[in-house]
Protein backbone atom coordinates (compact mmCIF):
# COMPACT_ATOMS: atom_id res chain seq x y z
CA UNK A 1 0.00 0.00 0.00
CA UNK A 2 1.25 3.44 -0.91
CA UNK A 3 0.05 5.48 2.02
CA UNK A 4 -2.29 4.67 4.86
CA UNK A 5 -5.43 6.75 4.65
CA UNK A 6 -8.00 7.71 7.20
CA UNK A 7 -11.29 6.04 6.42
CA UNK A 8 -14.56 6.81 8.13
CA UNK A 9 -17.37 4.25 8.13
CA UNK A 10 -20.93 5.34 8.82
CA UNK A 11 -23.03 2.58 10.34
CA UNK A 12 -21.65 -0.22 12.49
CA UNK A 13 -24.13 -2.82 11.27
CA UNK A 14 -23.46 -5.93 9.23
CA UNK A 15 -21.89 -4.13 6.31
CA UNK A 16 -20.24 -1.25 8.19
CA UNK A 17 -18.30 -3.60 10.45
CA UNK A 18 -17.41 -5.80 7.49
CA UNK A 19 -16.06 -2.85 5.52
CA UNK A 20 -14.24 -1.51 8.60
CA UNK A 21 -12.56 -4.91 8.89
CA UNK A 22 -11.42 -4.64 5.29
CA UNK A 23 -9.99 -1.12 5.61
CA UNK A 24 -8.36 -1.73 8.99
CA UNK A 25 -6.84 -4.98 7.75
CA UNK A 26 -5.36 -3.10 4.78
CA UNK A 27 -3.59 -0.74 7.21
CA UNK A 28 -5.86 2.29 6.96
CA UNK A 29 -6.76 4.26 10.06
CA UNK A 30 -10.43 3.40 10.43
CA UNK A 31 -13.10 5.30 12.35
CA UNK A 32 -16.40 3.47 12.82
CA UNK A 33 -19.40 5.67 13.51
CA UNK A 34 -22.88 4.72 14.69
CA UNK A 35 -25.61 6.50 16.62
CA UNK A 36 -25.13 5.02 20.07
CA UNK A 37 -22.10 4.13 22.11
CA UNK A 38 -23.44 0.60 22.46
CA UNK A 39 -23.73 0.14 18.70
CA UNK A 40 -20.23 1.52 18.17
CA UNK A 41 -18.69 -0.72 20.82
CA UNK A 42 -20.49 -3.77 19.48
CA UNK A 43 -19.24 -2.95 15.98
CA UNK A 44 -15.64 -2.43 17.06
CA UNK A 45 -15.89 -5.68 19.01
CA UNK A 46 -17.04 -7.56 15.93
CA UNK A 47 -14.17 -6.23 13.85
CA UNK A 48 -11.67 -7.24 16.53
CA UNK A 49 -13.27 -10.67 16.78
CA UNK A 50 -12.93 -11.19 13.05
CA UNK A 51 -9.27 -10.13 13.12
CA UNK A 52 -8.55 -12.45 16.05
CA UNK A 53 -10.21 -15.31 14.24
CA UNK A 54 -8.11 -14.60 11.14
CA UNK A 55 -4.93 -14.89 13.23
CA UNK A 56 -6.23 -18.07 14.85
CA UNK A 57 -6.90 -19.61 11.44
CA UNK A 58 -3.43 -18.61 10.26
CA UNK A 59 -4.83 -16.23 7.66
CA UNK A 60 -3.13 -13.19 9.15
CA UNK A 61 0.10 -12.56 11.06
CA UNK A 62 -0.44 -11.36 14.65
CA UNK A 63 1.43 -8.10 13.94
CA UNK A 64 -1.02 -7.23 11.19
CA UNK A 65 -3.92 -7.87 13.54
CA UNK A 66 -2.30 -5.70 16.21
CA UNK A 67 -1.71 -2.86 13.76
CA UNK A 68 -5.25 -3.12 12.39
CA UNK A 69 -6.79 -3.18 15.86
CA UNK A 70 -4.66 -0.21 16.96
CA UNK A 71 -5.76 1.79 13.93
CA UNK A 72 -9.45 1.17 14.58
CA UNK A 73 -11.50 3.56 16.67
CA UNK A 74 -15.20 4.16 17.18
CA UNK A 75 -17.27 7.26 17.70
CA UNK A 76 -20.81 8.56 17.83
CA UNK A 77 -19.78 12.05 16.67
CA UNK A 78 -19.89 12.91 13.01
CA UNK A 79 -17.32 15.67 13.64
CA UNK A 80 -14.72 13.01 14.38
CA UNK A 81 -14.69 12.19 10.65
CA UNK A 82 -13.09 15.57 9.81
CA UNK A 83 -9.72 14.03 9.00
CA UNK A 84 -11.08 11.35 6.70
CA UNK A 85 -9.75 10.92 3.18
CA UNK A 86 -12.65 8.61 2.44
CA UNK A 87 -16.01 8.16 4.12
CA UNK A 88 -17.94 4.97 3.38
CA UNK A 89 -21.63 5.15 4.16
CA UNK A 90 -23.34 1.90 5.26
CA UNK A 91 -26.35 3.13 7.25
CA UNK A 92 -29.96 2.03 6.78
CA UNK A 93 -31.18 1.71 3.22
CA UNK A 94 -32.93 5.09 3.16
CA UNK A 95 -32.16 7.57 0.43
CA UNK A 96 -33.09 10.66 2.45
CA UNK A 97 -30.92 9.56 5.37
CA UNK A 98 -27.95 8.83 3.14
CA UNK A 99 -28.27 12.07 1.19
CA UNK A 100 -28.64 14.09 4.37
CA UNK A 101 -25.53 12.50 5.92
CA UNK A 102 -23.36 13.39 2.93
CA UNK A 103 -24.77 16.93 3.10
CA UNK A 104 -23.71 17.24 6.72
CA UNK A 105 -20.25 15.89 5.94
CA UNK A 106 -19.71 18.75 3.45
CA UNK A 107 -19.12 21.10 6.36
CA UNK A 108 -16.98 18.64 8.26
CA UNK A 109 -14.64 17.00 5.73
CA UNK A 110 -11.99 18.45 3.45
CA UNK A 111 -12.93 19.28 -0.16
CA UNK A 112 -10.77 16.36 -1.31
CA UNK A 113 -12.62 13.72 0.71
CA UNK A 114 -14.22 10.94 -1.27
CA UNK A 115 -17.72 9.84 -0.31
CA UNK A 116 -18.65 6.22 -0.92
CA UNK A 117 -22.13 4.80 -0.55
CA UNK A 118 -22.71 1.09 -0.05
CA UNK A 119 -26.38 1.25 -1.05
CA UNK A 120 -27.74 -1.94 -2.60
CA UNK A 121 -30.84 -0.70 -4.35
CA UNK A 122 -30.97 3.10 -4.22
CA UNK A 123 -29.86 5.65 -6.79
CA UNK A 124 -26.29 6.78 -6.21
CA UNK A 125 -27.18 9.88 -8.18
CA UNK A 126 -30.00 10.73 -5.76
CA UNK A 127 -27.72 10.16 -2.79
CA UNK A 128 -24.99 12.31 -4.38
CA UNK A 129 -27.54 15.09 -4.84
CA UNK A 130 -27.55 15.55 -1.07
CA UNK A 131 -23.93 16.66 -1.16
CA UNK A 132 -22.69 20.05 -2.30
CA UNK A 133 -19.78 18.11 -3.81
CA UNK A 134 -21.70 15.44 -5.68
CA UNK A 135 -18.74 14.87 -8.02
CA UNK A 136 -16.92 13.31 -5.03
CA UNK A 137 -19.66 10.71 -4.46
CA UNK A 138 -19.25 7.16 -5.81
CA UNK A 139 -21.26 4.00 -5.29
CA UNK A 140 -19.17 1.14 -3.89
CA UNK A 141 -21.32 -1.90 -3.36
CA UNK A 142 -19.58 -4.53 -1.27
CA UNK A 143 -20.91 -8.05 -0.93
CA UNK A 144 -21.73 -9.65 2.40
CA UNK A 145 -19.56 -10.76 4.18
CA UNK A 146 -17.31 -7.93 3.05
CA UNK A 147 -14.06 -9.31 4.53
CA UNK A 148 -14.44 -12.55 2.57
CA UNK A 149 -16.07 -11.49 -0.70
CA UNK A 150 -13.67 -10.00 -3.22
CA UNK A 151 -16.18 -8.26 -5.43
CA UNK A 152 -17.08 -4.58 -5.20
CA UNK A 153 -19.43 -3.05 -7.76
CA UNK A 154 -18.47 0.52 -8.51
CA UNK A 155 -21.33 2.70 -9.69
CA UNK A 156 -20.75 6.19 -10.99
CA UNK A 157 -23.46 8.70 -10.20
CA UNK A 158 -24.30 11.07 -13.04
CA UNK A 159 -22.32 13.67 -11.12
CA UNK A 160 -19.23 11.54 -10.30
CA UNK A 161 -15.98 12.99 -11.65
CA UNK A 162 -13.44 10.85 -13.50
CA UNK A 163 -10.93 11.69 -10.83
CA UNK A 164 -13.17 10.46 -8.00
CA UNK A 165 -14.00 7.32 -9.94
CA UNK A 166 -10.35 6.47 -10.64
CA UNK A 167 -9.28 7.23 -7.07
CA UNK A 168 -12.05 4.89 -5.90
CA UNK A 169 -11.07 1.92 -8.04
CA UNK A 170 -7.45 2.41 -7.01
CA UNK A 171 -8.39 2.49 -3.34
CA UNK A 172 -10.46 -0.68 -3.73
CA UNK A 173 -7.65 -2.47 -5.57
CA UNK A 174 -5.42 -1.57 -2.61
CA UNK A 175 -7.94 -3.31 -0.34
CA UNK A 176 -7.50 -6.46 -2.41
CA UNK A 177 -10.90 -6.09 -4.05
CA UNK A 178 -11.84 -6.92 -7.62
CA UNK A 179 -13.97 -4.13 -9.02
CA UNK A 180 -16.48 -4.06 -11.81
CA UNK A 181 -17.97 -0.85 -13.12
CA UNK A 182 -21.71 -0.59 -13.51
CA UNK A 183 -24.15 2.08 -14.46
CA UNK A 184 -26.04 3.68 -11.62
CA UNK A 185 -29.12 1.58 -12.14
CA UNK A 186 -31.24 -0.15 -9.49
CA UNK A 187 -29.62 -3.39 -8.34
CA UNK A 188 -26.40 -2.70 -10.26
CA UNK A 189 -25.26 -6.00 -11.78
CA UNK A 190 -25.56 -8.69 -9.13
CA UNK A 191 -28.96 -7.86 -7.65
CA UNK A 192 -30.35 -6.91 -11.03
CA UNK A 193 -29.92 -10.51 -12.10
CA UNK A 194 -30.25 -12.32 -8.78
CA UNK A 195 -33.58 -10.86 -7.66
CA UNK A 196 -35.61 -11.68 -10.81
CA UNK A 197 -34.00 -15.12 -10.94
CA UNK A 198 -35.06 -15.84 -7.37
CA UNK A 199 -38.54 -14.47 -7.98
CA UNK A 200 -38.77 -16.64 -11.06
CA UNK A 201 -37.82 -19.71 -9.02
CA UNK A 202 -40.56 -18.78 -6.55
CA UNK A 203 -43.05 -18.42 -9.40
CA UNK A 204 -42.00 -21.81 -10.78
CA UNK A 205 -42.73 -23.24 -7.34
CA UNK A 206 -46.11 -21.50 -7.23
CA UNK A 207 -46.89 -22.89 -10.67
CA UNK A 208 -46.05 -26.42 -9.60
CA UNK A 209 -43.17 -26.83 -12.05
CA UNK A 210 -41.13 -28.33 -9.25
CA UNK A 211 -40.83 -28.67 -5.50
CA UNK A 212 -38.63 -26.68 -3.14
CA UNK A 213 -36.19 -29.56 -3.22
CA UNK A 214 -36.25 -30.25 -6.96
CA UNK A 215 -35.83 -26.59 -7.87
CA UNK A 216 -32.90 -26.22 -5.50
CA UNK A 217 -31.42 -29.39 -6.97
CA UNK A 218 -31.97 -28.18 -10.54
CA UNK A 219 -30.10 -24.98 -9.76
CA UNK A 220 -27.21 -26.45 -7.80
CA UNK A 221 -26.71 -29.64 -9.79
CA UNK A 222 -27.90 -28.46 -13.20
CA UNK A 223 -26.48 -24.93 -13.18
CA UNK A 224 -23.68 -25.37 -10.65
CA UNK A 225 -24.74 -22.51 -8.40
CA UNK A 226 -23.25 -22.87 -4.93
CA UNK A 227 -26.67 -22.76 -3.29
CA UNK A 228 -30.24 -23.36 -4.40
CA UNK A 229 -32.56 -20.33 -4.47
CA UNK A 230 -34.72 -21.49 -1.56
CA UNK A 231 -31.76 -22.37 0.65
CA UNK A 232 -30.33 -18.93 -0.12
CA UNK A 233 -33.62 -17.07 0.46
CA UNK A 234 -34.04 -18.77 3.83
CA UNK A 235 -30.62 -17.45 4.83
CA UNK A 236 -31.20 -13.95 3.49
CA UNK A 237 -34.64 -13.75 5.10
CA UNK A 238 -37.92 -13.46 3.24
CA UNK A 239 -38.68 -9.98 4.62
CA UNK A 240 -35.32 -8.71 3.35
CA UNK A 241 -35.93 -10.30 -0.02
CA UNK A 242 -39.35 -8.69 -0.12
CA UNK A 243 -37.94 -5.25 0.71
CA UNK A 244 -35.18 -5.49 -1.90
CA UNK A 245 -37.60 -6.78 -4.54
CA UNK A 246 -40.10 -4.03 -3.85
CA UNK A 247 -37.48 -1.30 -3.90
CA UNK A 248 -36.22 -2.49 -7.28
CA UNK A 249 -39.73 -2.97 -8.60
CA UNK A 250 -40.84 0.50 -7.58
CA UNK A 251 -37.89 2.03 -9.39
CA UNK A 252 -37.93 -0.15 -12.48
CA UNK A 253 -41.65 -0.92 -12.86
CA UNK A 254 -40.59 -4.27 -14.25
CA UNK A 255 -42.79 -7.15 -13.07
CA UNK A 256 -39.82 -9.50 -12.89
CA UNK A 257 -38.68 -7.70 -9.75
CA UNK A 258 -42.05 -7.73 -7.98
CA UNK A 259 -42.21 -10.12 -5.04
CA UNK A 260 -44.55 -12.99 -5.95
CA UNK A 261 -47.63 -13.57 -3.76
CA UNK A 262 -45.96 -16.48 -1.99
CA UNK A 263 -43.35 -14.11 -0.57
CA UNK A 264 -46.06 -11.84 0.83
CA UNK A 265 -47.78 -14.83 2.39
CA UNK A 266 -44.62 -16.18 3.95
CA UNK A 267 -43.80 -12.78 5.42
CA UNK A 268 -47.36 -12.43 6.73
CA UNK A 269 -47.09 -15.87 8.33
CA UNK A 270 -43.74 -15.07 9.88
CA UNK A 271 -42.01 -17.75 7.82
CA UNK A 272 -38.96 -15.59 7.29
CA UNK A 273 -36.39 -18.35 6.90
CA UNK A 274 -33.69 -19.66 9.19
CA UNK A 275 -34.10 -16.93 11.73
CA UNK A 276 -37.67 -17.99 12.55
CA UNK A 277 -37.06 -21.70 12.12
CA UNK A 278 -39.26 -21.86 9.06
CA UNK A 279 -39.08 -20.51 5.55
CA UNK A 280 -39.15 -22.66 2.45
CA UNK A 281 -37.61 -25.34 4.63
CA UNK A 282 -38.12 -25.95 8.32
CA UNK A 283 -35.22 -25.94 10.75
CA UNK A 284 -34.87 -27.67 14.08
CA UNK A 285 -33.36 -24.69 15.82
CA UNK A 286 -33.68 -21.14 14.62
CA UNK A 287 -30.27 -19.68 14.13
CA UNK A 288 -28.97 -16.44 12.84
CA UNK A 289 -26.66 -16.54 9.93
CA UNK A 290 -23.91 -14.02 9.54
CA UNK A 291 -20.31 -13.66 10.61
Amino acid sequence: MDKPLTVGILGAGTMGTGIATVTARAGHRTILRDLTEAAVQAGVGRVRQFLDKSVELGKMPAEQRDAAAAGLTGTTGLDDLAECDIVVEAVFEDVALKAELFGRLDDICAPTTLFHTNTSTLSVTAIAAGSSRPERVVGTHYCNPAPLMRLVEVARARQTSDEAYHATTEFLAGLGKVTVTTRDTPGFIVNRFLIPFENDCIRALEAGLGTVESIDQAVTRGLGHPMGPFTLLDIVGLEIHRAVSLSLYEQLRDARFAPPPLVEQMVAAGHLGRKTGRGFYTYDEPRMFGT
Binding site: T182, R192, F197, C201, A218, V219, R221, G222, L223
Partner: protein
Protein backbone atom coordinates in the same frame (compact mmCIF):
# COMPACT_ATOMS: atom_id res chain seq x y z
CA UNK B 1 -34.75 -52.95 -15.90
CA UNK B 2 -32.59 -53.88 -18.83
CA UNK B 3 -31.19 -57.14 -20.00
CA UNK B 4 -30.55 -56.23 -23.61
CA UNK B 5 -28.32 -53.37 -24.71
CA UNK B 6 -29.24 -49.73 -24.38
CA UNK B 7 -29.81 -48.12 -27.75
CA UNK B 8 -28.52 -44.57 -28.11
CA UNK B 9 -29.71 -42.69 -31.20
CA UNK B 10 -27.20 -40.15 -32.45
CA UNK B 11 -23.46 -40.17 -31.70
CA UNK B 12 -22.96 -36.40 -31.47
CA UNK B 13 -22.01 -34.30 -28.45
CA UNK B 14 -24.76 -35.67 -26.24
CA UNK B 15 -25.04 -39.15 -27.73
CA UNK B 16 -21.36 -39.85 -27.13
CA UNK B 17 -21.59 -38.52 -23.57
CA UNK B 18 -24.70 -40.56 -22.81
CA UNK B 19 -23.25 -43.72 -24.37
CA UNK B 20 -20.17 -43.27 -22.22
CA UNK B 21 -22.15 -42.77 -19.02
CA UNK B 22 -24.19 -45.92 -19.72
CA UNK B 23 -21.13 -47.98 -20.60
CA UNK B 24 -19.29 -46.76 -17.52
CA UNK B 25 -22.21 -47.95 -15.41
CA UNK B 26 -21.71 -51.42 -16.91
CA UNK B 27 -24.43 -51.46 -19.58
CA UNK B 28 -23.88 -52.66 -23.12
CA UNK B 29 -24.63 -49.84 -25.53
CA UNK B 30 -25.52 -49.87 -29.19
CA UNK B 31 -25.30 -46.49 -30.90
CA UNK B 32 -27.11 -45.59 -34.10
CA UNK B 33 -26.14 -42.76 -36.38
CA UNK B 34 -26.71 -41.97 -40.05
CA UNK B 35 -23.34 -42.94 -41.46
CA UNK B 36 -20.00 -44.61 -40.69
CA UNK B 37 -18.30 -41.24 -40.61
CA UNK B 38 -20.66 -39.93 -37.92
CA UNK B 39 -20.16 -43.12 -35.93
CA UNK B 40 -16.39 -42.87 -36.19
CA UNK B 41 -16.50 -39.25 -35.04
CA UNK B 42 -18.67 -40.14 -32.08
CA UNK B 43 -16.38 -42.95 -31.04
CA UNK B 44 -13.37 -40.68 -31.33
CA UNK B 45 -15.04 -38.06 -29.17
CA UNK B 46 -15.82 -40.64 -26.54
CA UNK B 47 -12.31 -42.13 -26.68
CA UNK B 48 -10.79 -38.65 -26.35
CA UNK B 49 -12.98 -37.87 -23.34
CA UNK B 50 -12.04 -41.15 -21.67
CA UNK B 51 -8.36 -40.62 -22.47
CA UNK B 52 -8.54 -37.21 -20.79
CA UNK B 53 -10.13 -38.77 -17.72
CA UNK B 54 -7.44 -41.48 -17.66
CA UNK B 55 -4.67 -38.86 -17.98
CA UNK B 56 -6.07 -37.00 -15.03
CA UNK B 57 -6.18 -40.22 -13.06
CA UNK B 58 -9.98 -40.23 -12.77
CA UNK B 59 -10.25 -43.67 -14.34
CA UNK B 60 -7.78 -46.47 -15.07
CA UNK B 61 -6.66 -47.58 -18.52
CA UNK B 62 -8.64 -50.78 -17.90
CA UNK B 63 -11.81 -48.76 -17.17
CA UNK B 64 -11.27 -46.90 -20.39
CA UNK B 65 -10.77 -50.02 -22.48
CA UNK B 66 -13.73 -51.80 -20.89
CA UNK B 67 -16.00 -48.80 -21.41
CA UNK B 68 -15.06 -48.54 -25.08
CA UNK B 69 -15.53 -52.29 -25.51
CA UNK B 70 -19.12 -52.08 -24.24
CA UNK B 71 -20.09 -49.63 -26.96
CA UNK B 72 -20.88 -50.93 -30.43
CA UNK B 73 -22.31 -49.03 -33.35
CA UNK B 74 -24.68 -49.44 -36.26
CA UNK B 75 -26.32 -47.50 -39.05
CA UNK B 76 -29.16 -50.02 -39.27
CA UNK B 77 -32.30 -49.36 -37.24
CA UNK B 78 -33.21 -53.06 -37.44
CA UNK B 79 -30.11 -53.88 -35.38
CA UNK B 80 -31.74 -52.19 -32.36
CA UNK B 81 -34.40 -54.92 -32.07
CA UNK B 82 -33.10 -56.38 -28.80
CA UNK B 83 -32.88 -53.10 -26.90
CA UNK B 84 -35.20 -52.57 -23.98
CA UNK B 85 -34.24 -48.95 -23.43
CA UNK B 86 -33.80 -46.41 -26.21
CA UNK B 87 -32.26 -42.99 -25.56
CA UNK B 88 -32.74 -40.67 -28.50
CA UNK B 89 -30.08 -37.94 -28.86
CA UNK B 90 -30.28 -37.11 -32.57
CA UNK B 91 -30.29 -33.59 -34.00
CA UNK B 92 -32.72 -31.13 -32.47
CA UNK B 93 -35.26 -31.32 -35.27
CA UNK B 94 -38.83 -32.36 -34.53
CA UNK B 95 -39.40 -33.96 -37.95
CA UNK B 96 -36.20 -36.02 -37.79
CA UNK B 97 -36.98 -37.13 -34.25
CA UNK B 98 -40.60 -38.06 -35.00
CA UNK B 99 -39.60 -40.16 -37.99
CA UNK B 100 -36.71 -41.79 -36.18
CA UNK B 101 -38.72 -42.57 -33.05
CA UNK B 102 -41.51 -44.13 -35.08
CA UNK B 103 -39.01 -46.31 -36.98
CA UNK B 104 -37.27 -47.42 -33.81
CA UNK B 105 -40.55 -48.02 -31.99
CA UNK B 106 -41.58 -50.40 -34.74
CA UNK B 107 -38.39 -52.44 -34.25
CA UNK B 108 -38.02 -52.66 -30.48
CA UNK B 109 -40.56 -54.54 -28.39
CA UNK B 110 -43.67 -52.86 -26.99
CA UNK B 111 -42.18 -53.16 -23.52
CA UNK B 112 -39.07 -51.18 -24.40
CA UNK B 113 -38.88 -47.72 -22.90
CA UNK B 114 -38.21 -44.88 -25.31
CA UNK B 115 -36.60 -41.75 -23.94
CA UNK B 116 -35.70 -38.55 -25.71
CA UNK B 117 -32.90 -36.20 -24.70
CA UNK B 118 -34.45 -33.21 -26.44
CA UNK B 119 -33.81 -29.84 -24.79
CA UNK B 120 -36.37 -27.65 -26.43
CA UNK B 121 -38.93 -29.79 -28.20
CA UNK B 122 -42.22 -30.90 -26.72
CA UNK B 123 -41.87 -34.47 -25.41
CA UNK B 124 -45.63 -34.97 -25.56
CA UNK B 125 -45.60 -34.15 -29.26
CA UNK B 126 -42.73 -36.56 -29.91
CA UNK B 127 -44.49 -39.26 -27.91
CA UNK B 128 -47.55 -38.80 -30.13
CA UNK B 129 -45.50 -40.08 -33.07
CA UNK B 130 -45.02 -43.42 -31.33
CA UNK B 131 -47.61 -46.20 -31.01
CA UNK B 132 -48.25 -47.02 -27.33
CA UNK B 133 -46.84 -43.66 -26.20
CA UNK B 134 -47.07 -44.58 -22.53
CA UNK B 135 -43.54 -45.95 -22.92
CA UNK B 136 -42.15 -42.55 -23.92
CA UNK B 137 -40.69 -39.89 -21.62
CA UNK B 138 -37.88 -37.36 -21.65
CA UNK B 139 -34.47 -38.16 -20.20
CA UNK B 140 -32.66 -34.86 -20.31
CA UNK B 141 -28.94 -34.96 -19.65
CA UNK B 142 -26.73 -31.87 -19.40
CA UNK B 143 -23.59 -31.22 -21.33
CA UNK B 144 -21.04 -32.71 -20.74
CA UNK B 145 -23.14 -35.73 -19.77
CA UNK B 146 -20.31 -37.66 -18.08
CA UNK B 147 -19.66 -34.75 -15.70
CA UNK B 148 -23.02 -33.14 -15.01
CA UNK B 149 -24.79 -34.86 -12.12
CA UNK B 150 -28.36 -33.81 -12.87
CA UNK B 151 -30.80 -35.59 -15.15
CA UNK B 152 -34.35 -34.38 -15.74
CA UNK B 153 -36.93 -37.11 -16.21
CA UNK B 154 -39.65 -35.45 -18.24
CA UNK B 155 -43.20 -36.71 -17.84
CA UNK B 156 -45.12 -36.29 -21.07
CA UNK B 157 -48.90 -36.24 -20.92
CA UNK B 158 -48.89 -39.84 -22.18
CA UNK B 159 -46.02 -41.18 -20.05
CA UNK B 160 -47.02 -44.14 -17.91
CA UNK B 161 -46.07 -43.99 -14.23
CA UNK B 162 -44.00 -47.11 -14.73
CA UNK B 163 -42.00 -45.44 -17.50
CA UNK B 164 -41.18 -42.41 -15.36
CA UNK B 165 -40.38 -44.62 -12.39
CA UNK B 166 -38.10 -46.87 -14.44
CA UNK B 167 -36.21 -43.88 -15.84
CA UNK B 168 -35.77 -42.36 -12.38
CA UNK B 169 -34.28 -45.66 -11.21
CA UNK B 170 -32.18 -46.02 -14.32
CA UNK B 171 -30.70 -42.51 -13.90
CA UNK B 172 -29.84 -43.43 -10.34
CA UNK B 173 -28.01 -46.54 -11.56
CA UNK B 174 -25.98 -44.28 -13.84
CA UNK B 175 -24.87 -42.44 -10.72
CA UNK B 176 -26.92 -39.41 -11.67
CA UNK B 177 -29.33 -37.36 -9.59
CA UNK B 178 -32.71 -37.49 -11.32
CA UNK B 179 -35.52 -35.03 -10.79
CA UNK B 180 -38.96 -35.51 -12.24
CA UNK B 181 -40.15 -32.50 -14.23
CA UNK B 182 -43.15 -31.51 -16.27
CA UNK B 183 -43.17 -31.35 -20.04
CA UNK B 184 -43.23 -27.55 -20.20
CA UNK B 185 -40.89 -25.32 -22.22
CA UNK B 186 -37.37 -25.64 -20.86
CA UNK B 187 -38.47 -28.31 -18.36
CA UNK B 188 -37.05 -26.98 -15.10
CA UNK B 189 -33.39 -26.01 -15.47
CA UNK B 190 -33.69 -24.25 -18.81
CA UNK B 191 -37.04 -22.79 -17.79
CA UNK B 192 -35.13 -20.91 -15.08
CA UNK B 193 -31.99 -20.30 -17.12
CA UNK B 194 -33.47 -18.81 -20.31
CA UNK B 195 -35.17 -15.68 -18.89
CA UNK B 196 -32.09 -14.98 -16.80
CA UNK B 197 -29.76 -15.19 -19.80
CA UNK B 198 -32.09 -13.05 -21.90
CA UNK B 199 -32.23 -10.45 -19.15
CA UNK B 200 -28.44 -10.38 -19.02
CA UNK B 201 -28.09 -9.99 -22.79
CA UNK B 202 -30.62 -7.16 -22.89
CA UNK B 203 -28.92 -5.39 -19.98
CA UNK B 204 -25.56 -5.76 -21.69
CA UNK B 205 -27.05 -4.37 -24.90
CA UNK B 206 -28.46 -1.47 -22.87
CA UNK B 207 -24.98 -0.59 -21.64
CA UNK B 208 -25.19 -1.80 -18.03
CA UNK B 209 -21.53 -2.84 -17.96
CA UNK B 210 -18.91 -4.54 -20.11
CA UNK B 211 -19.30 -8.25 -20.86
CA UNK B 212 -16.29 -8.98 -18.70
CA UNK B 213 -17.59 -6.96 -15.76
CA UNK B 214 -21.00 -8.65 -15.93
CA UNK B 215 -19.38 -12.08 -15.84
CA UNK B 216 -16.92 -11.18 -13.09
CA UNK B 217 -19.73 -9.70 -10.97
CA UNK B 218 -21.79 -12.89 -11.26
CA UNK B 219 -18.85 -15.23 -10.74
CA UNK B 220 -17.45 -13.44 -7.69
CA UNK B 221 -20.67 -12.01 -6.32
CA UNK B 222 -22.82 -15.11 -6.65
CA UNK B 223 -20.22 -17.86 -6.92
CA UNK B 224 -21.53 -19.19 -10.21
CA UNK B 225 -18.99 -21.39 -12.00
CA UNK B 226 -19.29 -19.33 -15.18
CA UNK B 227 -20.58 -15.85 -15.88
CA UNK B 228 -23.77 -15.67 -17.97
CA UNK B 229 -22.14 -14.33 -21.12
CA UNK B 230 -19.34 -16.89 -21.05
CA UNK B 231 -22.05 -19.50 -20.50
CA UNK B 232 -23.93 -18.30 -23.57
CA UNK B 233 -20.73 -18.55 -25.60
CA UNK B 234 -20.43 -22.14 -24.40
CA UNK B 235 -24.08 -23.05 -25.07
CA UNK B 236 -23.90 -21.45 -28.52
CA UNK B 237 -25.92 -18.40 -29.52
CA UNK B 238 -27.78 -20.42 -32.17
CA UNK B 239 -28.79 -23.07 -29.66
CA UNK B 240 -29.96 -20.38 -27.25
CA UNK B 241 -31.91 -18.64 -29.98
CA UNK B 242 -33.64 -21.86 -30.97
CA UNK B 243 -34.50 -22.78 -27.39
CA UNK B 244 -35.79 -19.34 -26.46
CA UNK B 245 -37.69 -18.87 -29.70
CA UNK B 246 -39.44 -22.19 -29.23
CA UNK B 247 -40.24 -21.45 -25.58
CA UNK B 248 -41.56 -18.05 -26.60
CA UNK B 249 -43.75 -19.48 -29.34
CA UNK B 250 -45.10 -21.99 -26.87
CA UNK B 251 -45.88 -19.51 -24.11
CA UNK B 252 -46.03 -16.06 -25.73
CA UNK B 253 -44.20 -14.96 -22.61
CA UNK B 254 -41.79 -12.20 -23.63
CA UNK B 255 -39.26 -13.18 -20.97
CA UNK B 256 -38.45 -16.16 -23.17
CA UNK B 257 -38.20 -14.22 -26.43
CA UNK B 258 -34.62 -14.05 -27.73
CA UNK B 259 -33.36 -10.48 -27.37
CA UNK B 260 -32.61 -8.73 -30.70
CA UNK B 261 -28.88 -8.86 -30.03
CA UNK B 262 -28.98 -12.67 -29.92
CA UNK B 263 -30.71 -12.88 -33.30
CA UNK B 264 -28.21 -10.44 -34.77
CA UNK B 265 -25.23 -12.34 -33.42
CA UNK B 266 -26.62 -15.52 -34.95
CA UNK B 267 -27.20 -13.71 -38.25
CA UNK B 268 -23.60 -12.51 -38.18
CA UNK B 269 -22.33 -16.02 -37.50
CA UNK B 270 -21.11 -15.10 -34.04
CA UNK B 271 -22.19 -18.25 -32.31
CA UNK B 272 -19.83 -18.30 -29.33
CA UNK B 273 -16.95 -20.67 -28.64
CA UNK B 274 -17.59 -22.89 -31.61
CA UNK B 275 -16.91 -19.98 -33.99
CA UNK B 276 -14.48 -18.29 -31.60
CA UNK B 277 -16.67 -15.20 -31.69
CA UNK B 278 -19.24 -14.36 -29.09
CA UNK B 279 -19.57 -12.20 -26.01
CA UNK B 280 -16.34 -13.26 -24.35
CA UNK B 281 -14.53 -14.99 -27.21
CA UNK B 282 -11.99 -14.40 -28.48
CA UNK B 283 -10.89 -13.70 -24.92
CA UNK B 284 -10.53 -9.96 -24.52
CA UNK B 285 -7.24 -8.50 -23.39
CA UNK B 286 -7.15 -8.31 -19.61
CA UNK B 287 -7.37 -4.62 -18.98
CA UNK B 288 -5.48 -4.70 -15.74
Amino acid sequence: MTTGPIAVLGFGTMGSGIAQVCAQAGFDVLVLDTGEEELARGRERMAAFLAGAADRGKITETDKAETLARVSTTTDVAALAGADLVIEAAVEDAEVKRTLLAEVAAVVGERAIIATNTSALCVTELAAAVPAPGRVAGLHFFNPAPLMPLVEVVRALQSADGTVQALMEFAGRLGKEPIEVKDRPGFLVNRLLMPYLNHVVQSFDDGLATARDIDVAVELGLGHPLGPLALLDLIGLDVHEHATQSAYEDTRDTRFAPPPLVSRMVAAGRLGRKTNSGFRTPAEEEDR
